[in-house]
Amino acid sequence: MNECGRHVVKNSKKIMEAAPFMIPSLLGMIIFSFLPIIISIVISMTEWNGLDKLDIQTLSGSFVGISNYMNIIGGKEFWKVLWHTVYYILLYIPLVLICSLTIASILNKNMKGIAVLRVLYYIPVLTSWVAASLIWRWVLSPQYGILNQLLAIVGVSGPNWLTDKIWAMPAIVLASVWKDMGFYGLFLLSGLKAIDTGYYEAARVDGASASKQFFSITLPLLTPSIFFCVIMALINAFQLFPQVMIMTEGGPNGATQVMVERIYTYGFSYFEMGYAAAYSWILFVIIFLLTLLQLKLQKRWVHYES
């Protein structure tokens, strides 16, 4: 038996030993993930109302093929909602990256009480979105909120954040950045910690300035962490939901309606579960394609330390 063959046999033996241990969690995955995924594809091709008993008879009786998908893509609403999501992403991702990078740089310093600071920045991440949204509604209250009062001090009269068509989405971005920056900051911090201090020493010897060090050493070597954060942020941004539901309920006049909010409304308020399922599959395809695209593009800007 050659070297390679022995390897395979050894591996398959290992798998046989490991398999029984995997069965319980595999079963869980099949029952709670794979089956629902398959069923939701079927539902998306029906007009199931979400109340009738879910069986073959109901599903075949309300089968409509791909017409749900055609109606969604052919309608105006989908494109409007998609634009809202894209608008959110365009504001949110740069802002959250800059903020979390700043936090990571601050937390990377060796100061007294740094552990306390780290905890403080991470607390919003652990807070439930319901509580956070309610607090942000106070903060953003046009007349009585702290944000507009702070703006008034510097002579700016703040907008009616959540009830203004133009400012509602930026307001939600603001709340989301506040809540998420600690999360991404933590990943970036671990990225910073992983950078060999030798690079900086060498740079200092050569007389590189602090900003030169940041842009030529820190940023390039941090790109794997940033890449991870961008993918995570993008996926999360497409699934934007609780903050919208609690802060604006999609208003004012639908200015903050986003995809998951639509899915929820169709499925649980209008009783059009088939339509909602089709919506969620379209959302999946969008996220999937964008993630693929990013994986392809990463070669151009992500530097892995070899």
Partner: protein
């Protein structure tokens, strides 16, 4: 080899553990199904309580509700104790679920075939559930004690699918002190919107951030104001929308002009993110048409005098009421017991008395002696106005796609209120969108 045996053993244990957890639930779910088969010949889709089961037969039913959550769980339990004394053979397992989770949970349970025997639905969801055929028709129950308007709200095609479990209506609440300061006489039951306008102008003149009235720009308000001007959302046999009728335009114009033209009602930016109740409690609002469930809050929060009267009318009076229905699951095989319980809960004098004593809300009954106790509580002084309002109840236009219709109309009206489109455009667009998106039977 030893390793393999060990690993198989361990995983075997884990799987059994997992399945046991599932199996217990399945048993519980399957047991009724077996019972159903033997009984199906006698039970039809409708419930006839008159053919009640023999007193000795023990039944256990489940009842889910959201209305008792947040403070009235004990009252509901007390009601059940009284019921159980009267019907010792019926045991009710009460599930009280918070409003936020209630409807998603109920929808999943109905679809999954594990819905409770009887449960509570708000008016929006009632229409959808009844039209989708998951509720049992209630025939043969004694409905003579109910408020008939509330009762008829839960009929679909002449069939009774639910009983009104509770009742709240809307009255005009006004700040007496502001009326005194402005030198305007207090509103009366006969007031029309014109009287409101005149009084509001004077109250608004008291100060920059004082307003006459606040009426939310929503579908809920609109269908009522529409009725006050002789309009409607649907035609008589509910086969077509009549949203952009001349009467409705009068109604919508009045609602919108209060904000955009006379500004006796604050717009969104003048509200500054404040709630309408908060504005009233701050003493800067003359009048607010709102539900009687505001009484407890206002009694605590207002440091000025306030009272109530019947809502103002347009060309005629129409008043708003809210009622949740109690329904029986079509697939339950204990429909009789379930109907007996919800009928008792909704209309018996004993339950009604407990409901009033606890200050929960009103029972939807017509028994004046039980309701009399409710009148004695003050403020407001003129509590009688609640019952005066009952004469003019406007029935909500219940259709299968109620939520969708409400969302469309609310959206268009709020666009008009922000001045983006005219009231006429709003109604025309709402009519068009409703026709395009909603199929009426």
């Amino acid at each position: 080899m030893k390793k393999k045996v060990l690993s198989l053993l361990v995983s075997g244990c884990m799987i059994t553990g997992m399945l046991m957890g599932c199996a217990q639930k399945e048993e519980a779910a399957q047991a009724p199904a077996v019972a159903e088969e033997s009984e199906t010949e006698t039970t039809e889709e409708s419930v006839d309580v008159s053919k009640e089961q023999s007193e000795t037969e023990e039944v256990e039913i489940t009842y889910a509700n959201f209305n008792a959550s947040g403070g009235n769980e004990e009252t509901l339990d007390k009601m059940y104790q009284a019921f159980h004394e009267e019907y010792p053979n019926i045991t009710v397992k009460i599930e009280t679920i918070g409003y936020d989770d209630y409807f998603t949970q109920m929808q999943t349970r109905v679809a999954g075939g594990t819905a409770p025997d009887c449960y509570e639905l708000n008016i929006e969801n009632f229409a959808a559930y009844a039209n989708k055929g998951v509720l049992a028709e209630l025939s043969g129950i004694d409905t003579s004690g109910y408020n008939q308007t509330a009762l008829s709200a839960f009929q679909v095609d002449g069939k009774q699918y639910g009983v009104p479990g509770n009742f709240s209506n809307v009255v005009l609440i006004y700040n007496k002190d502001l009326f005194d300061q402005a030198g305007v006489s207090y509103p009366t039951n006969e007031w029309t919107w014109d009287d409101v306008m005149v009084a509001s102008e004077k109250i608004k003149a008291l100060g920059d951030d004082i307003y006459g009235i606040y009426q939310p720009i929503t579908f809920n308000e609109f269908f009522k104001v529409s009725a006050q001007y002789g309009g409607s959302i649907l035609n008589d046999d509910k086969s077509a929308f009549t949203i952009n009728s001349a009467e409705n335009l009068n109604a919508a114009q009045m609602m919108v002009d209060k904000i955009t033209v006379s500004n006796i009602q604050p717009n969104e930016s003048q509200m500054g993110g404040l709630g309408d109740w908060d504005l009233f409690e701050s003493g800067r609002l003359g009048m607010i048409p709102t539900g009687i469930w505001a009484f407890n809050t206002f009694t605590e929060a207002c440091d000025f005098n306030w009272d109530i009267c019947v809502e103002p009318g347009g060309t005629q009076k129409a008043t708003h009421f809210f009622s949740n229905s109690l329904v029986v699951n079509k697939d339950s095989e204990k429909k009789e017991a379930a109907a007996t319980w919800i009928n008792w809960l909704a209309s018996s004098d004993a339950a009604a008395q407990m409901r009033i004593d606890a200050g929960w809300d009103l029972p939807a009954i017509s028994n004046d002696t039980v309701l009399a106790g409710y009148l004695k509580i003050t403020p407001p002084q003129n509590r009688q106005a609640i019952f005066d309002s009952l004469e003019y109840l406007a029935k909500p236009p219940i259709i299968e796609d109620y939520s969708k219709m409400a969302d469309i109309i609310t959206g268009k009206l709020s666009q008009a209120a922000s001045g983006e489109i005219s009231a006429e455009e709003a109604l025309n667009q709402a009519q068009e969108e409703c026709e395009a998106q909603i199929k009426l039977q």
